[in-house]
């Protein structure tokens, strides 16, 4: 079981800090904590909220049913009181007018004022909430220390203590053993994966919801030897990443869909010049500026076919924080191994959701170079001139992969060329060479396909209904399958794709024939995964659960829509 706290208020009221402190306190109390953010695209005012679910076991989805509503303003009560579970309560300042019987009014604002700093009212709420949840104040000092300026630490502790004394315990939830786990968002996990991969250069232009990656890397730039460069635009960002990668460092760029548009041409440059590149697209609802701070999975078809012409690429959709870390490491590896662009597809839901995660495996191996990426090439062919000295940047090889050298090599020259070129990298107009070069590049996909990861199967392979999803819907689908197990044991399973282009089709082709119903579940309007599956395998889904209002499907919502729209059919 799990409890669910909603902290609601206006932008600028500090709900983000309040939530961060609470998440940490709960984890220190041993809970598994899963917190999702619903923010407007504004800096002050409006209505924002954070949902914090916690309990003794793993949690993989948010839920709209809440147990504690912490309302920092009146609007939060009005908007969310109806979501309260039976035994739920509303914690709010005494100034907030509500006759809801579940309301617990405390003096947040006045206490803070009396303490001499109106901004500590959040700590009053935290203290009170801990008591209401039957928890203690043991970790309050060390936790607050990480979130408030040291000059205000004592005051905040006092505020929490006073809040604690204002109420009596109401709910209690058994704890787990997650004290030593990480609290990490999708963006942070991705950035950590990049650090573990020895990324040395990250260029980007600020864009929600991807900016967190840049900020996290910048914070640790000096210590970890990465240059984080804010580019003048996204075109510069990706061309910078390519320029850096060309010299031999691992390089990356990140953005959201609108910025990705501006990177498209250089994606093709990565393809034809065979310069390894990792690009992250943290999706948000489009088209255009769309809904900047919300979530969607609608860039799949776009990133799969972005850029003129044809070249090998790989697209990996991140499914959770663990995946974000591991797949980022894999992205660097594969980009380097195949000298191709690898696109990491994340989304706002995953990027901004913090979850309790087992500390990541961190070894030197993620930073090690691929075999084709070395500076000690044997001088196999005779040197015919300074330029053609036996090493060929685009040598035609059986698997299409050519070893790389970097500028500064004592014997060879590194060359990159966006025009069609011969093995040396010189412009060519020869139809034969063009044909060979296209084949060489596309051939890399043959080998790449052999190391694709099949989608994760949740539930029994012998299900009646097989849900097909991708990316950040894995968590909600996992919860949905667990919920369905109760009423329909073994009937509904889910297949969730991480590697998504090229699409690994083995598992799908094995399971699809025996399932009665194939239902794709996606955060978009056109069913992009379904169309990709049809294109790749000829398999058609029978129906779909689509959501494209900028809010993520929860496990519960998937279940109810499945029952409402699909199963009754």
């Amino acid at each position: 079981m799990a409890l669910n706290i909603l902290i609601g208020g206006a932008a600028g009221q500090g709900i983000d800090t309040t939530a961060a402190i609470l998440e940490q306190l709960l984890k220190h109390a041993g809970y598994y904590v899963y917190a999702t953010r619903d923010f407007m695209s504004r800096v002050r005012g409006g209505h924002n909220f954070i949902l914090i679910r916690f309990g003794p076991d793993r949690i993989t989805s948010h839920s709209d049913r809440i147990d504690c509503l912490v309302a920092l303003n009146e609007e939060s009560v009005q908007l969310h009181a109806s979501q309260l579970a039976d035994k739920g309560f509303i914690l709010c300042d005494s100034s907030i007018p509500t006759d809801d019987s579940r309301a617990i009014h405390i003096e947040m604002t006045n206490t803070a004022k009396d303490l001499g700093n109106p901004r500590v009212f959040g700590s009053v709420a935290i203290g009170a909430l801990l008591r209401l949840l039957s928890l203690d104040l043991v970790h309050i000092a060390e936790t607050l220390k990480r979130h408030v300026p040291s000059s205000a630490l004592d005051l905040n502790i006092t505020a929490a203590e006073q809040g604690y004394d204002m109420v009596a315990p109401r709910l209690s939830e058994p704890a787990g053993d997650y004290r030593h786990y990480l609290t990490v968002s999708g963006n942070q996990a991705l950035a950590l994966g990049a650090l573990a991969s020895d990324v040395r250069f990250y260029a980007a232009y600020p864009m929600s919801p991807s900016t967190g990656i840049m900020e996290f890397l910048a914070e640790h730039g000096k210590d970890c030897d990465i240059v984080v460069e804010q580019a003048e635009d996204e075109i510069a960002a990706i061309n910078m990443a390519l320029g850096a990668s060309f010299t031999g460092v691992r390089a990356m760029t990140g953005t959201s869909g609108g910025g990705f548009c501006l990177m498209v041409e250089a994606l093709g440059l990565s393809g034809i010049a065979e310069i390894p590149l990792v690009v992250c697209d943290v999706q948000r609802p489009g088209p255009g500026t769309g809904l900047p701070t919300r979530t969607e999975q609608s860039d799949l078809r776009f990133v799969i076919s972005a850029a003129q012409g044809e070249f090998p690429r790989m697209v990996i959709a991140l499914r959770d924080q663990q995946d974000a870390y591991e797949q980022t490491i894999r992205a660097f590896r594969l980009a380097e191994r195949y000298r191709i662009p690898v696109i990491i597809l994340s989304d706002q839901y995953l990027a901004d959701t913090t979850s309790t995660v087992e500390p990541f495996m961190l070894t030197k191996s993620a930073a090690e170079r691929e075999a084709n990426d070395n500076q000690d090439l044997a001088d196999t062919t005779p040197k015919t001139s300074a330029f053609d000295n036996g090493y060929r940047n685009y040598q035609l090889t059986e698997d299409g992969i050519t070893p790389r050298v970097y500028p500064g090599h004592p014997n060879y020259f590194a060359a990159a060329d966006s025009d069609e070129h011969d093995e040396l990298g010189h412009i060519t107009e020869s139809p034969e060479v063009r044909h060979q070069m296209m084949n060489k590049r596309m051939r890399k996909l043959d080998k790449l396909k052999t190391e694709l990861q099949e989608p994760r199967l949740i539930g029994s392979p012998k299900c009646k209904t097989l849900l097909l999803g991708w990316g950040s819907l894995m968590g909600p689908l996992e919860e949905a399958i667990a919920l369905l197990e109760k009423d329909h044991p073994g009937q509904v399973s889910a297949l969730v794709f991480g590697d998504i282009f090229p699409l690994p089709v083995g598992q799908l082709q094995a399971l699809a024939p025996q399932a009665k119903r194939l239902v794709h579940v996606e955060q978009n309007a056109t069913g992009q995964l379904a169309s990709l599956i049809r294109e790749s395998t000829g398999i058609s889904c029978h129906s779909g659960i689509l959501k494209y209002d900028g809010r993520q499907l929860s496990g519960e919502e998937i279940v109810s829509r499945l029952k409402g729209e699909i199963i009754h059919e």
């Binding site: 030593h180 609290t183 990490v184 942070q188 950590l192 650090l195 573990a196 020895d198 040395r200 250069f201 640790h220 000096k222 210590d223 970890c224 030897d225 990465i226 240059v227 984080v228 460069e229 580019a231 003048e232 635009d233 075109i235 061309n239 910078m240 990443a241 390519l242 320029g243 850096a244 060309f246 010299t247 031999g248 460092v249 390089a251 041409e265 250089a266 440059l269 500390p359 990541f360 961190l362 030197k364 930073a367 001139s385 300074a386 330029f387 970097y406 500064g408 090599h409 004592p410 060879y412 020259f413 590194a414 060359a415 990159a416 060329d417 966006s418 025009d419 990298g425 010189h426 412009i427």
Partner: protein, 297 residues
């Protein structure tokens, strides 16, 4: 010319212009690009550069084919996008001598945003703009520097845009080294190239380069009659003088170094580069990454 210059080589590195080799070019006979290529090889030779430590970066265009014709590391990127790739390469490996050779359309038109913002970064690279006041490769449309009234296949009634003044623009953006050369004066050009490469920070060298095929107005003869080298006593450190001098582009076109004042470079200021070792040569810091992760517990 390349024969002569190899004699001049002042280095003990056994490097001659021949080291940078000669390839068959696809340029028109008589094009100024040939002279620029020759001068580039001379400049690199006279500076004693080892070709393996030189990276020539370009966008797309006639000028941008330069990296194809020289024995050095070569990055032929996208139209307009030479600068971001070049500065990032230098950031990642400061041991490289990074030179951008590209056209006026590439550098100031499609690449205009990178031009202004990379001046602000002040990364230590040299930027040689082959300025023929026209789009050569696409067969003769107006470039940002085309003169007013220039008639082309697109500007059928003559160019009506205010011509972009690269000298003034670079100065306004805070560039530390701003110079103009001309293919009709290769001795001066080689000297300017060398100084631009030696300058610590971003150095702009705009080179008047006649396009014999598509610019019938700004010909060799036209430039020759207008070009006026700056006097020896010209004060390169006076910004206001430079701003005034930069405005001159009529029957006189000043050539030489209009402005040269070193400012803190990107490398000198970027915290992650503080220890002075090239990024690409540093070992992986596992423990630093461990520390980062542990902060999230």
């Amino acid at each position: 010319m390349s024969e002569k210059s190899s004699d001049k080589s002042t280095t003990n590195n056994d490097i001659s212009t021949a080291t940078f080799e000669t390839f068959e070019t696809a340029w028109c006979p008589g094009c100024g690009d040939h002279i620029i290529l020759t001068c580039l090889k001379r400049a690199l030779t006279e500076l004693g550069k080892n070709p393996h430590d030189v990276l020539i970066v370009a966008g797309i265009g006639q000028a941008a084919k330069t990296p194809q014709y020289i024995s050095a590391n070569a990055f032929c990127g996208l139209h307009g996008r030479a600068l971001p790739a070049a500065v990032a390469a230098k950031i990642a490996n400061e041991d490289l001598t990074v030179v951008v050779n590209s056209g006026d359309g590439d550098s100031y038109g499609e690449g205009g945003n990178h031009f202004i913002h990379n001046i602000r970064r002040n990364v230590d690279i040299a930027h040689f703009v082959h300025d023929n006041q026209i789009y050569g490769l696409t067969k003769g449309q107006a470039s940002p520097t085309s003169q007013t009234g220039h008639v082309t296949g697109v500007q059928v009634n003559g160019n009506i845009n205010i011509p972009l003044n690269p000298m003034l623009l670079a100065l306004a953006m805070g560039a530390g080294f701003v110079a103009r050369g001309f293919t009709g004066d290769p001795e001066q050009l080689v000297a300017l190239m060398k100084q631009a490469i030696l300058f610590k920070g971003y150095a702009l060298l705009d080179i008047l380069q006649p396009c014999v095929s598509f610019n019938k107005i700004n010909t060799f003869t036209d430039y020759k009659s207008r070009v006026t080298p700056l006097p020896d006593n010209y004060d390169r450190s006076d910004l206001n003088l430079a701003l005034k001098t930069a405005q001159i582009f009529d029957d006189k076109i000043p050539t030489g170094i209009l402005y040269s004042v070193e400012k803190p470079t990107y490398h000198a200021q970027q915290a992650a580069l503080a220890d002075g070792k090239s990024l690409v040569k540093r070992p992986f810091k596992l423990s630093a990454v461990k520390n980062v992760m542990e902060k999230l517990v």
